[in-house]
Each structure stands twice: as C-alpha cells, then as structure tokens.
Symmetry: D2
Subunit: 326 residues, 4 copies
Amino acid sequence: MVDFNIIRCARAVLLVTNLEASRDFYENALGFVVTEADENHLYLRGYEEHNHHSLVLKKAEQPGVEAISYKVYSDEDLNKLYDYFQQKNMNPKWIENQHAVERAFRVQDISGLPVEFFARMDTVERLLQRYDLYKGARIQRIDHFNCMVPDVQKAYDFYVKELGFACSEYTETENNELWAAWLHRKPNVHDLAFMNGNGPRLHHIGFWLSDQLSLIHACDVLAAMGYAKNIERGPGRHGLSNAFFLYLRDPDGHRIELYNGDYLTSDPDFLPIRWDINDPRRQTFWGHEAPDCWFNEASQVFDIHSGELVELKEPSVQKLKPDFVI
Amino acid sequence: MVDFNIIRCARAVLLVTNLEASRDFYENALGFVVTEADENHLYLRGYEEHNHHSLVLKKAEQPGVEAISYKVYSDEDLNKLYDYFQQKNMNPKWIENQHAVERAFRVQDISGLPVEFFARMDTVERLLQRYDLYKGARIQRIDHFNCMVPDVQKAYDFYVKELGFACSEYTETENNELWAAWLHRKPNVHDLAFMNGNGPRLHHIGFWLSDQLSLIHACDVLAAMGYAKNIERGPGRHGLSNAFFLYLRDPDGHRIELYNGDYLTSDPDFLPIRWDINDPRRQTFWGHEAPDCWFNEASQVFDIHSGELVELKEPSVQKLKPDFVI
Amino acid sequence: MVDFNIIRCARAVLLVTNLEASRDFYENALGFVVTEADENHLYLRGYEEHNHHSLVLKKAEQPGVEAISYKVYSDEDLNKLYDYFQQKNMNPKWIENQHAVERAFRVQDISGLPVEFFARMDTVERLLQRYDLYKGARIQRIDHFNCMVPDVQKAYDFYVKELGFACSEYTETENNELWAAWLHRKPNVHDLAFMNGNGPRLHHIGFWLSDQLSLIHACDVLAAMGYAKNIERGPGRHGLSNAFFLYLRDPDGHRIELYNGDYLTSDPDFLPIRWDINDPRRQTFWGHEAPDCWFNEASQVFDIHSGELVELKEPSVQKLKPDFVI
Amino acid sequence: MVDFNIIRCARAVLLVTNLEASRDFYENALGFVVTEADENHLYLRGYEEHNHHSLVLKKAEQPGVEAISYKVYSDEDLNKLYDYFQQKNMNPKWIENQHAVERAFRVQDISGLPVEFFARMDTVERLLQRYDLYKGARIQRIDHFNCMVPDVQKAYDFYVKELGFACSEYTETENNELWAAWLHRKPNVHDLAFMNGNGPRLHHIGFWLSDQLSLIHACDVLAAMGYAKNIERGPGRHGLSNAFFLYLRDPDGHRIELYNGDYLTSDPDFLPIRWDINDPRRQTFWGHEAPDCWFNEASQVFDIHSGELVELKEPSVQKLKPDFVI
C-alpha cells in the first residue's frame, strides 16, 4: 500500500443561509476565533490552531456541505493522491485560488462525499495562551468528521485499505454487519467516522475542547444566549471513544460535536474495539438514549462537479438505529 | 411568630428491601461513608458531616419513608416545637431510644409527611480532609428534601408562616397557582421543596457535592458498575436554583439528587424568584426535558402512629407537569 | 447577649491611586461586574450578588482602607448596634448620603479597624445565569475579610462575646496563645478572620468562586494579561477552612483572595477546629510555604474621624509566622 | 534519513530501595494500576494502557535508572535500529528474557543515557472505562522522559537528525545557546526533553492525566496520606508546552510529573516555539519560580554493560538555571 501521508482532518466548508446568525452562534456562543470575515465567508479556527482556519462558512441559498478536507504532509503526497484518484477514474479536480489554502483538489469519495486534500494552508498566530480571549466553549481545534453513508463496509475498506487510515473502534449489528467505524490518521480515536444510514451526508464535525468544564460552561452560555434549543444531545460520556461530548445544531441545522478526552491510538498492537449496536453503554456510557433526530438528520453534500446536491441512497444494512432510541 | 430555631434538614429514614444491594449502591458507587451497619440498619454520612449520619436505611418488607428529619438549635427549641404541634392537635409523638439520636419527636405534617425533629445527634470524626478515602460521587453532606404534596399552597403557608422557613424560588402555573416552592432555613436555596402532585410522597433527597466534576465522575462510576439504568435524569443545570444536578434511583426506587452550586440566600432583601411552569429553562436551564417517570414516581410515606402507608390524595392544581415533558 | 442580627460581611471601601489600572485588573482580569463607575469611584459586584456592590474603589492620593462593612437584618438592628457602640464610648458616626447605601454608621472597632454597618443597599439585577457575560475568575460574591491585629485574643473576645460571631477554626502557638481565629455570621467558615501581626491592617478580602477551575482559569487569564507578578500565593488548598485558594495583589498592593469550597457551619454542636501554627498542613494542606511578604504586607486603614492612617501597634504574641516560611 | 519508526516513549525501569514504600506511593497515592508484583519487581501502568506496564520498579541497593525505553513499530524496525547503533560503534546489547517484553536491546545514547528499544510488550486489559477502580491521580498513560544532559545541542542533533524526533519547543540562553529542547515522536509536545545540567541524569518521567481536577485531587490525596513533602513544585501551568503540571518526588527521590493539556504537533508546518531562558512565563506561565532542588537534583543512571553508575559531566552551557530561581 502506498503511504499517502495524510496528516489529519483539517477543515470543512459549510454552506449557510445567514452569515450573521452563524457568526453569533460560532463566535459569541461557542468561542471560535474569527480569523477573517467578508460578506460571503467566515473563516473560523480554535485557540490552538496555527493554520488560518478549520471551518469555512459560505453564504448560500441552501445549507449543505461543499467539502470536508484533509491535510497531507507535502505537495508530493498531494500529487500522489491526485494521481491515485485519477487512476481509479474518480475524477479528482484541482481547485484554484482558494483563500488561505494553496494547491488543493477535490473528489467525490467512494460514498459520494465531497472530499478535499491540500498540503499547505496559511499560518496565523496561535492563541493557545491568550486565555484572556477565551470564551464560550473555548474551542481548541478540529478533531473529526462523522459521515452517514449507505455502505459502511465499502467506505471502511476504501479508507483503511486504500488511503491508510487505521480503525480504533467499530460497531456491528447482531448479524455482525459493520454498522459504524471510527478511523484515524492522527493517533487519537478518529479523524473520520462512518455510520450506516441514508447518505452520503455529513453527520457532524467534532471539535476538541481542553477539558470537561469548558463543555459544561458551553451549555450554560448557550442557554443564557437563548440557544438552549440548539443543544441536541448530551452532555454525556461516549462508551465508544470514551469522550465527553455535546451535540449542537447550528442555525442551519449543521451538527457540531464538542469533544474531549479520548485516548492515544499510536500503537500497532492496539486492537480495534468492537461494540454491539444494542449495547446500552455504546453511545452514551451512562445509558442515555440519543433522540431520534440524531439518527435521522444530517447535512446534505454537494457534487464537486455539478454543484448539485448528491442524491441519497438507502443504507445497505437494514438496522437504522439501536433498539432503544427514545 | 415564634422562632423555633430549626437549623437545617438533617436526616432521612428510608425503608429498603435489600440492605446489601443498597450498601453497594450507596457506599461503593456513590461514596457515602458507612458510620455503622448492623443486620437491619445502615447509617450513612457525607465526608463533611460531623454528625453520626444523614441517611438511615432500614431493612423492611416494602420500601417507603419512615421520616424526614430536621435539627433544631436546642432542647428548648425542641420542646417548644413539640408543644406547638400539640396545641395544633397534630399529635406529635416522642420517639425513644433511637440509635445515635437523642430526644426526637415525629409528627405527620400538614400534608401528611412523617416529619421528625431533634436537637442532638452523636458526633463522629469529620472526614472532609481524608481525601484518600474519597470515592464515587464524594458525597459531602445532606442538602434538602423534595416532597410531592397535593396542596403546595397549604404546605407553603405552614412551613413559611408557622415554622419560619423562607422562600428562595417558586413556580406558578399560567393561572398563578403555586405549583412548587423552594424553602430554606440554612441560607442556601433549600432545605425543603414542595411540588404539586399525588401525595404526600418524598420525591427525592438532595446531597451536596463539592464540585461539578465529582458529579460527572459519579456517572462514570455508576455506569462502570452496571448502574447506568439507575441514572434517571441529568447531569444538567437547574434553571431554578442554578444547581448542577443528577437524579438517581436507588435499588428500591428511592430518588437521590446529587447537587452542587446554588447560592447564598441569607439576605432579608433577597426576593424569591418566580418561574413559570412552562419556562423551558426552569427545570433544566439547557432545555432538556425531564422524563415522565420523574414527575410520576416518588417514595410513599408511612403513618408515624399506625405504621401504615399514608393514603395519597389527588393534587389541588390540575397541572401535573410542564407542557413539554418527554 | 443581645442579638444584633448581623447577616454577613457585605462590602469594602478601598482607596486606590489609579482607577483605570484598578478597573483593568478587577473588571477585565478578575471578571468583576461593574455596576457603576464615575471619575472617582468604581462600584463592583459578583455575578451572584443582587446588591449594588460588594467592593468600592475610591480614587485617592494614597492606598488604604476606608471601611469594611457588614449588613444587618433591619434598621432596628442597626440602631441597636449604634447604641451599643455609643454606650461603649466607641464613638460611632453616622455616614450620610453614601451612594447606593441607605443609613450606615462607622466605628473604629476594638482593634482600630474602620468598620461600617448598614441594613439596606440598592438592589440590582442578579447576573448569576448570564453565563454569556462571565469572564476571568467569574467572581460570585464577597466571602470574608481577613485582618491583621496586634491582639487577636482581644479582637476574638469582642466579636464573639459582644457581637455574636461564632468561631469555626483557630490557630494557637506552641504556648497555646491564640494566634489567629476564623469567625462567621453566615454559616460557612468565615466572614472575618484575625491574624497576629502589626495592626490594625486589612490583610485581604476573600471572594467566593463557584468552582476550582474558575480559579485555575483566573491564573491563566492573569498571566496572559501580564499580571503574573500579581499572583502572590497559590493556587492551593488551605488546611484551615479546606478552601481552594489564590492570593493576588491588586495594582495598589491590596490583597484579594479567590476562594472556593469550605463547608457548612450552621450546627451548634460543630466544635471549632484547632490548628498548631507550625502544622505544615495548616496554611497549605499540600505543604507549600507562604512567602514572607504574605505575612508582612497588608493594607493600612484610616481613622473614620480624623481621616488619618491609624497607627500600627506591635503584636502581643511574639510569633509572627510559622517556623517554616520560605 | 532512515525512518526507524519509533512510536513513542514506552516505559522506564527504575531502581528503588523499598518496594513496599514505593507501592504505597505509586498505587495508593497516585493510583497507578499494579499489573504484577513479585518480591523484587512492581509492574505499573495507567488506566488507559493496554500494554503490560509503563513503569517497572526494581528492588536495589541504591536508587537509579536502569533504562528508559521506546517502542518501535516492528521487529524489522528494531533490527534496523540495532544495526544503526552497531555501525555507530555505540555497542548496543540485546537483553534476553525480560518479563512481559519481547526482544529488546539497550544502548548508552550519545549523552550516556541507558536507552532501550523494543517492538512488542504483552497486552493486558485496558481499564480506561473501569471508573470504579480509579483512585488518586487517576494516571492515564506514560507521556515523556525529561533528561539532564551536559550537551543539549549534541543530544538534540542526535535525536532529531539521526533518530527522527521532531522538536516542538526549545529554550535558549541570552547568547542563543540551546539550553533545553522538547522532542516528540507521537504528536504531542514530547516523548523526550533535554535540559542543560550535570548529566546524564533522568530528571523526571511525565504521566498523562485526563484532566486538571485529577491533578488537584492528587495533591489532596497526597497530603491526606502524609506525602505533602513529596510535592516538589506546582500545581501550575507550564508556559512551555502549555501543560498543567505537578512535580512529585517518590520515596527514593525519583521525580514524577503529572501532566495534562498540551497540544497536537502533527503538522509539518508547525514551527518549534522558542523561549528565552529568562522569560518568567516559560517555566510557569503564572510566574511561579521553581525551587532550586528542581534544577539540581535528578536520578543517576547506570551503565548497561558495567552496571556501574555513569559518571556525571559538567554542562557545556554555563547557565544552570534562570536568573530568578527561588
């Protein structure tokens, strides 16, 4: 297997319908740093990040996902990846003149997700020790993408066998069908997870927090600002990944996860952890059931060539959610 | 008004059907200190408490509440209170020879709750700084009782106008009927709360924790020990009281609240805070709805004279719960 | 003993030389709420406080303490107290036309400290649940005064026997001389503490925080803003009081303590805890030694009649500090 | 440069004089998991670790360091590394029959430190979600070694240029001499740091905690158990690395750091952060000075061939510590 040297999940490009509403939510309530903003874009990052942004919000007629993006080690790796996708006839496309990002290409991945790769993004001042600026959830950095796809096994095989991701944890149905998988390049639980369902859709973007009380404080701030209805699930402890979590819906319905406290997965002898989909501690270690909307709703993605919404496919595994959902 | 000098809520006497199961839950999972135990009793306290216990579990055929108990300043106050109840023809009854408690009397209060008063309990070593013994939720001390009663207004009047409790916060229906009230003697939000419903029943006993992360850790420990199903509601922030909370059900279904972070209510110019029952931030500031069982289920109480269960009455206010319960 | 019904320590009036520098420190770094400000005054409160302020900073030529102040239950109590001081020939003095405070009088107490009493202060909006406004140390409320006096035993006797304060903890020398005492009216560890030393001086004002991580965050914010040199001692755990603490020096050298996590002292059978001055866990439970300046430096106080600095007296107990100070 | 595929720092082998005393400190106070123990060895790990141990304590006549050890990806990598050291005439030595570790070799590194490499260690049950077993500092995993060496520049060059470590942060004197460097293989701040001083010596081993309050609780537990004197420095925030830290001395004087909260260093465009040795926020962001003993004392290491203590050399850079040490 060629090593494409993908470093980590790096940014998402989301379409939103009201930049002002989004800015209040992401900047004032969640405490993202606004690196830059113009009439049609908002470039956001966490306090730890030295790259220009990890989230771009673009003003659009309808919400959706333009791209989820990975950083690779070097331009050479980027070219190798581009060639690989071309050889596979997956029709990758160089994207020119993006703000703050150098050469990048996009491709619809095996599940139809609009994926981007790049090697270099502008660097900016890290604000990790500017504690005087911290507010809201004190977002530290982007951590992962979670995507709903119609065929988790196929997506898993592609990312693990072709692109060199490693699996940390996974979920199977009672019939041992792969229902969800957590894959990583950087050595924590994931850069990318797949979940069985109508897809391809982006289920959520996870952002890393430095501690649990920042997450509790985020709930308090959100409620104080009138965003209580945007809290969808949690706070709680995931059984799977062990992380302390909170799921939010932004003003356009995009789902954001605040996330802290998983573990190091660098060892080659670390064996992926298997969970049964009906294990009550899998999703929330404390037994809390996720609401139905958490399983049904996700952000639709766009075709990188046509600019149209990608059509959804029914999932290959019948099981849509655990038996015990609320 | 006579000042009876009631200091604070002090202990509960609960009947449980399996002392061993209770001990695992309270001692190993929640981290109560076992002051003493015999075949039929378990005497429990928090790390901060210098009195012998704040919770007695008694082995019995069926679960229930024998008494909820208040500490008064002196024997003189105790006698004054006894005389008061006698003059009111409420038939108070001295209880002799209780373990670790000196003179005490019990009386069925205006709502039919079995209430006890005493002035002196044995003192024991305070373990506040024995951090090496801390485990589970690191219970610090008893904080309050919450009772479901058929006539909140009547209970409120009795405790405020006759016994000298002060009100910190209260809830009204859209018709300005008193639906719930939080009353205190020690100057935090409550020693005693009343909630409209079939009663008299003990809804829960609240215990104070030193911090929020002890409560999060309690969830983790409960889940690790197989008690996830005993977590009924939370963790969350109460709008009312501002406390960080978790509701648990013990092996007999008695409800325990872990509680941290309300505020000082000592000032005479502090005005009780009014909440509308349908304010979504009232119960859980973050908007989370309480489950139906939280409104319906509570511990039945016993008659101090007959030893029989006290009959339940329908609540005077029609509204049984907020509009938005799950 | 007459019960003067003193509720709690309520506010301090400090003289500072540069209001702008003070405002940056108290508002931006520590996160006090500025209720009002004019050219010569800054009125500050914590997020929990419903009274107009708990700290007044007044512009002056030299730093010092104009008054430390207690709230009493009613005007009647205020009058009773005034009469008491008159009968004692202590020369109390009504102070007219103070901003936000109704009738108040001041008196030089038995140690020479300028003490004020009042029953009513203007009320303002409580910001306890305006978490979106929280910053810095997220100050909740005033907690206590700590004063250095030349004769702790005399001060103790006056406040306990005459004014009805209760003692929670105290420190003695190897010769059983009273070296320090922690006294309270509200039922936590203290409203007022006395420490042996050149006095009368105000050693520090303690403010209550809601949790330990707010205190850690305060350190980070102070350092990020260039106030690292204002951190004098801590963070640490006090053996005495069990509180988690941090000592700061404001731009004029006034000492502020951030404080969280003591315990309930409402019970009449709670026995004051004795500490030996040389017990290494007394000051800092973890064994950390306080710096010399912590023992030597404190804020001088003014005479309420002459407006002059009150002259300092040598302490009656020879021992100025524990043996093991850095 | 050959990529030897070193994964991370993996274990230390320390010599201690009293296994019982060590066990109380590491197991009961710090909350290490004891995987195995016999008369002469104690094998310890953190709750997250799936390998047999990350710390071995061996009973010996005098305290010291037998080896600090790195895990490599595969046996092939191990052989490559062995060959490399042989070609360099550094005399590596295979160590046979170690408990729980497969093939391993040791070598005295460029500074004289006894370093070990291995590819496989026995796996055991991960206890990450056995929260019911958590105690003390709730140690999660080994994080890094910090070594005092006489020539930091030489050590830096060897590990960066020969072994493929990356530098995250470094310290220079006013003359731009390299005074200390933080190097990593796993992508957080370090697996290995070097500090200028008499060496080679092991300054400390860092262990990762999941959160800040576990570290505060560790202080409380240590003090409660009589280990206050073993707390050498902190808690505090490092400027360098941004981690929240605590330094402890074990019963033999070996230094342990509890550590939480650095950042991700996976990006190739992350530039090492330079600190001036006299920047007061470098060591402790909050300005606290480290005690003199922290600079002077460290654990001596043994020669892997002779079994004798390795002789110490004077440091090449004159500056032994910052100007402002206590």
